[in-house]
Structure formats: structure tokens, C-alpha cells
């Protein structure tokens, strides 16, 4: 653990000892700045029942710079693109060093509950979401079933 800032150590300990409901974050054994994350699809959202895998990396500048987070599980969501990049203000200009991995993951979980098609990253998905929400939600549910449930890829 040599060279790892106290802040990261403390955050990691707390993530393991008091995990947030529906979220797990485990540091990689070879790189303690790299976390394997899973987020359970929130209740009453089209992602319910799915388990979404993400990767989270704390760059050298952390906490002055935001963590880098990406979805590894395919997801049909207007603010998440084909390769899993996430459009979330706190990961960009709204980042504050007073935020933590825990708060970031909670915000991502909240983003799953409340997609924001007005600030899209995946334009085609956002268009669908705005034009025909029911159909978009149906597709999102299908994708959840296909990619985020046991046996899914």
C-alpha cells in the first residue's frame, strides 16, 4: 500500500466495511486505485433486477481530479453511450475534492432511476426517450434482461 494516499485508504476501508445498499466496490488486487464496481438496477426503474458492472479508476491527481468511471455492462440509457461512458456533471465540471467514490456511485445509481434525455450522451437513445418514452423503457428493460441478468453478458 506504499504511496497510496491516506484518503484513498480510508475511503476503501469504509466502502468495504459499510457498503452502500445495492452497490459494491472492490479494489483490484494488483492496483489499489482500480475498483471493480457493481450497481444493482434501482427499484421501479427499467433497470430493476439487473446487476451492472462498472470500472472505476482514481487518477494520480485524485481527489483534485474526478475519478474515471465507465459501465462495462451494456445499458440502454440516454446519458450512457455505447462504450459505457457516463454523462454526469460531478464527473466533469461539478467535481469537488470534497466528493468521494461513495457519492459518485450514489449519483450514478440515482442517474439510473432518473434518466435525463435533455442532456444526452447517446443521441439516438435520448431521441427515443423523448419521442416515445414507453418504447424506450421497454427497450431498456429488454437490454437489462439480456445483458445485466445472470448468464447475460
Amino acid at each position: 500500500m506504499a504511496g497510496l494516499p491516506r484518503r484513498i485508504t480510508k475511503e476503501t476501508q469504509r466502502l468495504l466495511s459499510e457498503p452502500v445498499q445495492g452497490i459494491s466496490a472492490t479494489p483490484d488486487e494488483n492496483n489499489l486505485r482500480y475498483f471493480h464496481v457493481t450497481i444493482n438496477g434501482p427499484k421501479d426503474s427499467p433497470f430493476e433486477g439487473g446487476v451492472f458492472k462498472l470500472e472505476l479508476f482514481l487518477p494520480e491527481e485524485y481527489p483534485m481530479a474526478a475519478p474515471k468511471v465507465r459501465f462495462n455492462t451494456k445499458i440502454y440509457h440516454p446519458n450512457i453511450d455505447k462504450i459505457g461512458r457516463i454523462c454526469l456533471d460531478i464527473l466533469k465540471d461539478k467535481w469537488s475534492p470534497a466528493l468521494q467514490v461513495r457519492t459518485v456511485l450514489l449519483s450514478i445509481q440515482a442517474l439510473l432511476s432518473a434518466p435525463n434525455p435533455d442532456d444526452p450522451l447517446a443521441n439516438d437513445v435520448a431521441d427515443n426517450w423523448k419521442r416515445n418514452e414507453a418504447a424506450a423503457i421497454k427497450t431498456a428493460r429488454e437490454w437489462t434482461q439480456k445483458y445485466a441478468m445472470s448468464g447475460g453478458q
Binding site: P5, E11, E61, M64, A65, P97, A98
Partner: protein, 517 residues
């Protein structure tokens, strides 16, 4: 050519003009050309007093330190009226883009509710903050810094009036990141999530120990001050840190201490006679990948149905659009539909069909525009290139001047040579911009006169250039002086005639411009 000479003889008394001109040159020979330039301006306006710019254009060249002084002076001035801490005031002023009148107006408009003005500028009202500060200093227990998670005594913890405190180490790292990586200065806020209270300059200067970061911060502050202030402009020369301060904004040439002369309005090199607006368009045109787009428009045709771009790669004129959704069949020659052509396309008898004609006209005009652009661009580039070479000429002329001084001529006596190269460069620069002017010009009687003037300057300039480049090294001293002076004075006078004519045209709305895409 005859006609334009007549035109000038009618309007100006050439003798009168020449006298003034000679006098000017004697006067400014040692003055590196700058005074010469402004006296040209003065003459332009005295010739045409209703131009309204016969007054000299007063401006100052300031070092970065002086700009900081100016900034502090404004803070002091406002502080005399409103009496709030200067750190807070600086943030308020920055919020109002350094418009002190606007600040004062708002300050009194919100009389009694001045909290609002502080909130809008993202600062804690100085009236409220005192109590907060006192409360903070009362504590003396160990605290954990929320950023690094280490415990420190409260003396090592600090914060703004919003009450969020972090350790000094994290603060300093946070500020460095914002300043160096993100180039922020007056908009850095408290590190706390969703706290928008702005960090004032005293806090920044206190917490940053790295001199490099301090300098960058001060530069960013100065820069935002200059950018906000319409009467200030950075000298555009690379690595020059001077600022030009004017008394009123105008399209006039200013010259920085470093030697760069530029248009105060647009910041480009001084570009008389062309307008800032046209120069901007021109430079954009040159910058864009215009060659490529012109090649495309001149050498390809668009499918008359789906508009896809087509380059013909074989001899047959029976075109079938490859766009799978279109597959339109048409004739390459007349651009009309293929059907009526039958087998005898080479007698393409559909030439005047309405549709085909329209498509052809579009093609023609785009080719013509390319020709036109290339014509002007070529000449513009040519003078630009020559202007670059004239710097070599300066070196050569300098040697010649030293040589002449060894042959018993005084320093002042040989300055005519330098003046000649100055005039040469001025003429090249003017000529360069006349081609930009001409590019946008619609043809009318005045534009023909302009072209005549342009040809005169060009001819005179080339003669001067040739003489300075070749003969100056071989001819005898007395002969050189006489000839060089004659040539550069003629150049200068033709240049002034041209500029005056264009200026008069601006004044009397002679110029009509073409529409460009």
C-alpha cells in the same frame, strides 16, 4: 490611366501636396517611420475634414505591472465610495466585468438589500462574514480535513467566509490544479461540493507558495482585466507582455513598444485600406480548407437529383449516380436528365433545358469564384512573401549604411536608405491589403480608379525594390541618394493618393461589395 490622373489633378493641388510630403520626410527620417505613419493619417483627414478623425489617436503602451496598478487604482476609486474590503471588491468588479459605473449603479439600486449583489457575485457579504470569522477562531480542537482525511490542529485548517474549512496543504494543491491545469483565476470557488463562494486573491496569494503558480495566477487576473476592458488590448506579438490603452475605441493603428503595429479594433496587423470586417472574412477564407473546397466545386459536379458530389472518372457522359438510394441518370455535359438524350448524346441538344441550365450556371459561378479568389490570393500572398524578404534587405542596407559612413557621410545623412526600406515595406503592406479590399469590391467607376491607383503604387514599389536590391551596391554615392529619395518619395506619394481615395470612398459610400459565401 489617363482618367485617374485627371481625377486627382482636379481634386488636389499636386504641388501643395508634394511640399507637405517632402517636409514630412525630412522631419521624420530618424523617427523609425512611426511618426511618418501618423502624419499620413493626419494628412488624410485634413484633406477631408469631415472624415472626423483629423485628431491624433492618443494611446499609451503599458507594461503588465502598470496594468496591475491601473486595476488597483479602480479598486481604490470604488472603495472610496462604497467602503468594502478590497478583496471582496475585486470579486465584485470582476463580476461586473470591471465596469465600475455598473457596479455602483447596482449597488445603489439594491440599497438596503445589498446581500443580493454579493450573492450574485458569489461572495459572502462583508457585513455578515465578521461573525463567522469570530466563531471559527474560537475553536481550537483537532479537525479532520475532508479532502485528505488527515487530522490537523485548527490553526492548519482554513477556509472562506462560507465556513467550509480544509487543511492548508489541500487548499494549496486545489488552487494549483485550478490555476495551472484549468487556467482559472477569478472564478475559483470553495472546494466544497456545490459551494459557489469565490476564492479571493488575498487567500490565493497566502496559500500558494510556488512562485510559478503565483505568477500564473497574477497573469490570469491581469488577462481577465484586459479582456473585460474595451479600452485595453494585449499586443498580439508573440511573447510580448505589453498592453495598449486608448482613450476611445477606434479602427486606428497603434504601435507597441516591441515594434508591432496593429489595428486597435481587430488586433490584426495594420491593414489600411481594407476594413476589419473584410479582413476577417478574408483571413477565414484563407485559413479554411478553401483550396480543397474550391477544387471540389470546380472539378466535380453534383448529382442534379440527390446532390451527392461526383467526380467523373471515365469518358462516358451517361452518368448513373452511385448513390444507391438515387441512381439518377443524367448527362455530364448539360446536367439534364439522360432519358431524352437517347443514343445521340454527343449532340447534346438539351443544352438550354431550364433545369440543366440552372445546374450549369451554378457550376460556372463556382468556377468563376475560384478564379477570382485565386487571382487576388496570389497577389496578396506574393506581397506577403516579398514583405518577409525585405527583412533581409534591412540587413543588407545596414551594411551599406556603415560603408557609406566610412566614406565621410554622417549618420544622419545615410538614414535615407533605411527610410527607403521602411517605405518599401509600408507600400508592400498596403498593396497586400488592397488585394483583400479589391476581392470584396464590386466593379464601378470608382473601383476602376482604385485599380489604376493600385497599379501605380505597385509599379513604383517594384521599381524601388529593384533599385534597392540591385543597383544600390554598384552606383556612386551621390547618385544613389538622389535616386533613392526620388523613388521612395514617389512611392509614398502614390500610396497616400491610393489610401486617400479609398478613405474618401468610405466616407462617401462609393464602395459596393460582392456577396461571398
Amino acid at each position: 490611366m489617363e482618367s485617374d490622373d485627371d481625377y486627382y489633378e482636379d481634386d488636389i493641388d499636386p504641388d501643395d501636396y508634394d511640399d507637405g510630403h517632402n517636409f514630412d520626410n525630412e522631419d521624420v527620417e530618424v523617427d523609425e517611420g512611426y511618426l511618418g505613419e501618423s502624419s499620413v493619417d493626419a494628412r488624410i483627414s485634413s484633406y477631408n475634414p469631415d472624415l472626423g478623425d483629423d485628431d491624433p489617436y492618443p494611446y499609451e503602451c503599458l507594461s503588465a505591472d502598470k496594468v496591475v496598478g491601473l486595476m488597483n487604482e479602480i479598486i481604490r476609486e470604488v472603495n472610496d465610495i462604497v467602503n468594502i474590503p478590497s478583496t471582496t471588491l475585486r470579486i465584485l468588479l470582476a463580476h461586473f466585468n470591471w465596469d465600475k459605473e455598473l457596479l455602483l449603479e447596482k449597488y445603489y439600486e439594491y440599497e438596503g438589500n445589498q446581500e443580493r449583489i454579493f450573492a450574485e457575485a458569489h461572495v459572502i457579504s462583508p457585513l455578515k462574514s465578521k461573525s463567522l470569522a469570530r466563531r471559527k477562531s474560537g475553536r481550537s480542537i483537532e479537525q479532520a480535513c475532508e479532502i485528505c482525511c488527515n487530522n490537523y490542529s485548527s490553526s492548519f485548517m482554513t477556509g472562506l467566509d462560507c465556513g467550509h474549512s480544509f487543511c492548508k496543504g489541500c487548499w494549496s494543491q486545489y488552487l494549483c490544479t485550478k490555476i495551472i491545469d484549468e487556467g482559472m483565476s477569478q472564478t475559483i470557488s470553495c472546494p466544497e461540493f456545490e459551494c459557489d463562494i469565490i476564492v479571493d486573491d488575498a487567500v490565493v496569494m497566502n496559500l500558494i507558495t510556488d512562485q510559478k503558480v503565483c505568477r500564473k495566477y497574477q497573469h490570469l487576473i491581469t488577462n481577465s482585466f484586459v479582456m473585460c476592458n474595451p479600452l485595453l488590448k494585449w499586443c498580439p506579438a508573440p511573447d510580448c507582455h505589453h498592453v495598449i490603452k486608448v482613450e476611445y475605441r477606434d479602427k486606428r493603428p497603434v504601435k507597441c513598444e516591441c515594434g508591432r503595429e496593429f489595428c486597435f479594433d481587430c488586433g490584426e496587423s495594420w491593414h489600411d485600406p481594407v476594413l476589419c470586417m473584410h479582413l476577417r472574412k478574408w483571413l477565414k477564407k484563407c485559413d479554411d480548407d478553401s483550396e480543397t473546397s474550391h477544387w471540389i466545386s470546380a472539378n466535380t459536379k453534383e448529382c442534379p437529383k440527390c446532390q451527392v458530389t461526383i467526380e467523373k472518372d471515365g469518358g462516358c457522359n451517361h452518368m448513373v449516380c452511385r448513390n444507391q438510394a438515387c441512381k439518377h441518370e443524367f448527362c455530364w455535359v448539360c446536367l439534364g436528365p439522360w432519358d431524352p438524350h437517347g443514343a445521340s448524346w454527343y449532340n447534346c441538344n438539351r443544352y438550354n433545358a431550364e433545369e440543366a441550365k440552372k445546374a450549369r450556371d451554378l457550376q460556372e459561378s463556382s468556377r468563376e469564384m475560384l478564379q477570382r479568389y485565386l487571382f487576388y490570393c496570389n497577389r496578396y500572398m506574393n506581397h506577403l512573401q516579398s514583405l518577409k524578404f525585405e527583412h533581409k534587405l534591412y540587413a543588407r542596407i545596414k551594411r551599406k549604411m556603415e560603408e557609406m559612413q566610412q566614406l565621410n557621410m554622417s549618420w544622419i545623412e545615410v538614414q535615407f536608405l533605411k527610410r527607403a526600406v521602411d517605405v518599401l515595406c509600408q507600400c508592400r503592406q498596403t498593396l497586400m491589403y488592397t488585394y483583400v479590399f479589391a476581392f470584396f469590391l464590386k466593379r464601378n467607376n470608382q473601383s476602376i480608379i482604385f485599380e489604376g491607383n493600385q497599379a501605380d503604387v505597385e509599379k513604383a514599389t517594384e521599381l524601388l525594390s529593384e533599385y534597392l536590391e540591385r543597383d544600390v551596391t554598384t552606383a556612386s554615392l551621390g547618385e544613389i541618394k538622389q535616386k533613392v529619395q526620388d523613388k521612395y518619395r514617389y512611392c509614398d506619394s502614390r500610396r497616400n493618393v491610393l489610401l486617400r481615395h479609398v478613405h474618401e470612398g468610405y466616407d462617401k459610400d462609393w464602395w459596393e461589395y460582392i456577396e461571398t459565401s
